[in-house]
Symmetry: C2
Subunit: 406 residues, 2 copies
């Protein structure tokens, strides 16, 4: 039985969507990885009552509650007060923290502003957690076998404090948790239903924790199990039943896997995109290390640019911009122009406009040119709105390249 | 007194931080803008019990609860069952929805997989909400003056369904909220603190509802007010104090505003990107109608490609790939090669590696070439992680182009 954890963020700006709650994702990832069952995320208003009430809810269902935000110096930050109200204790003054504040401001030749003096207070039943990365003071409270931890909402301060002061507290009480076994598998060319079908009913007869995460053209599976036997058995089943689609046994995304293969083989890649408009190149370059194998790309949006890559006027006129020979020539043309080993060419109709009976929105041709100069073309009709068609086309192009070079 | 709303996402992948909960941010923004007081966000596990329990909590404190996710075909998706359990009703079959599924699969010459048949079920007391953007069925329940709405967790489907089927439901019951005057302003080149400073204290003396939404290089302001007088006064103040940065008085994104200006002037654009790796082109082509003004782009990642666009070997050797002359030549070179009127060139160090004392991570040069063939270059050092540097660089390039052509 795993210990449970809840994450409770405080802030009107989060409620109104001014800020995306990446802190919850970070803590969810880290606490799960530590071995906790994260049973809830919550966000509540900058209000003593709301904080007090929501903290009570969270504590009723979990052993560890990590609160984030509302620890600033301004009057609207009342997380300290809300937590103190829940435990019915006063706030007390930390001379050590105030000394730190004085030092920090002294560096800039300033005295501590009266407003900022609030940063030296914390609930009487709490243990202050010094924040070496900012002025907001964190704190932890151990109460009836449960732990409440309050951290600042600035993402960088939160992350640093998690590793700096939170992890030690958790390890002290939950040191035995590192044992549970983790398994992550990423695959391409399979939909969520297809993966479930291939795994089959009997896959789920063991006791373990299963998560499946689909994204355009991709599926990720995550498994947590306590038994080494189960872990091994699941791993074997997955390898056997999904092997044709599996590209990594960890978090590594497909574009990085492809990059590693190409870098190892000392091969390079260039891409020419029409309907995906730079998305494929952007995917590839969103990860560090792309320069090891990626020559670059051309967004051949206008016919003028397609011609520059060697697509004949005649083909454009007779077959149209969205056609197999155009995809093939884009792949070959960009490969030659950028002096790469492999070339990808994509042309299609992302929509919402531009479709016809013979060439519907979602029609995409993907060309792949190889070091020998030859090329292959695949035809697809992707379903969805503009950016879904673009996402699926980019993912499918990476899949074909991966199948070619793996 | 505003009506209250809560957002409750369902999904272990969100709890574990495999996915950042951008859906909550989107709904928080839209529901606040509609006129609701969003009092809580929550995330709970893929478990009938958890869903039932958390829905109960949310309904106790709010009038409208929007639930997101857990509507997929796989066994771990149990939002339908959890909500039905809360209301103690059975699930019923929608022939209409099943017909839709059959049509969709038929398009690909397939029958509806048995697993996917689950997508045709919904709680007996609910009204099905057809999802024109995916296979998952949404639904809404009106119960004791309260509304529960369940939507799929795929962000694009959620967004489309919000405007397509949710807004009409909210307007029907809360139409009077619509009378309140809404003001949306989007600006570039200003940070949130800069905007707040320029607006000044006295801006906030009237009674109105204010939301500010920063993103890379951009800020959006949304205001709700009941008085026409206040509305007009605020509009005047904003126009006067922020005019230099305002590019639209509605939701229109900057790349679309630029596209409209260029199309109107019958001018075209081409971009050459190094460190942004296709992100800028991808931004421009993510909206329909880009073909009216966008010639295309080159991702000049490798020196070979930079040379193809006319960057002299000597410049690369003496000044380096990340330098002002390279940005200028990329802009000029791509403009000439793609026969466009304007050209943008970007070169920089997105990081995390590749930085040095003289050229730190975040250093970016942006070049802009004009119809007269002349070019300008701007130097920036952007702070943040790789994707933040890329986002900010792409946004800044669009800002310079906009300032040039507006």
């Amino acid at each position: 039985m795993k210990p449970t954890a809840a994450i409770l963020a405080v802030g009107n700006e989060v409620l109104r969507g001014s800020v995306v709650n990446t802190n919850a994702a970070f803590l969810g990832r880290e606490l799960s990885h530590f071995g906790f069952e994260v049973v809830s995320h919550g966000v509540c208003a900058d209000s003593r009552q709301a904080i007090r009430f929501r903290l009570g809810e969270a504590l009723r269902r979990t052993e560890v509650v990590v609160m984030v935000g509302g620890l600033g110096p301004t009057p609207d930050d009342v997380t300290r007060e809300g937590i103190a109200a829940h435990f019915n204790v006063p706030l007390v003054f930390s001379a050590e923290q105030y000394g730190r504040l004085q030092k920090i401001y002294k560096r800039y030749g300033k005295r501590v502003p009266s407003l900022v003096k609030r940063e030296a207070f914390y609930p009487e039943n709490a243990k202050p957690l010094i924040n070496r990365f900012g002025i907001a003071l964190g704190f932890s409270i151990e109460h009836q076998q449960k732990i409440v931890i309050a951290l600042p909402g600035v993402p960088s301060e939160l992350k640093n404090m998690y590793f700096d002061v939170v992890l030690p507290i958790l390890k002290k009480k939950y040191g035995d948790l590192f044992k549970s076994r983790k398994l992550t598998v990423r695959m391409t060319g399979l939909s969520e239903p297809e993966v479930m079908k291939k795994l089959g009913e009997n896959f789920f007869k063991d006791r373990f924790d299963f998560g499946i995460y689909p994204s355009a053209g991709e599926v990720m599976i995550r498994i947590l199990s306590d038994s080494a036997g189960v872990h091994q058995r699941l791993k074997k089943k997955i390898a056997a039943r999904l092997k044709n689609g599996i590209y990594s046994w960890d978090e590594t995304p497909l574009s990085v896997v492809i990059g590693k293969i190409l870098a190892k083989k000392k091969k390079t890649l260039a891409v020419a995109e029409s309907c995906t408009g730079g998305l494929l190149a952007s995917r590839i370059t969103s990860h560090p290390g792309a320069s090891l194998f990626f020559r670059g790309g051309t967004v051949a949006y206008h016919p003028v640019v397609k011609k520059k890559l060697g697509v004949p006027e005649k083909v454009l006129r007779e077959r149209g911009e969205v056609s197999a020979p155009v995809a093939a020539q884009l792949a070959k043309g960009v490969r030659v122009w950028m002096e790469s080993d492999y070339g990808i060419g994509i042309t299609g109709i992302a929509g919402p406009d531009g479709g016809s009976a013979s060439k519907p929105v979602g029609l995409v041709y993907i060309g792949l040119a190889s070091p020998d100069g030859k090329s292959q073309v695949w035809k697809h009709v992707f379903w969805g709105e503009r950016h879904q068609v673009q996402d699926k086309a980019a993912a499918k192009a990476l899949e074909y390249l991966w199948r070619k070079i793996r």
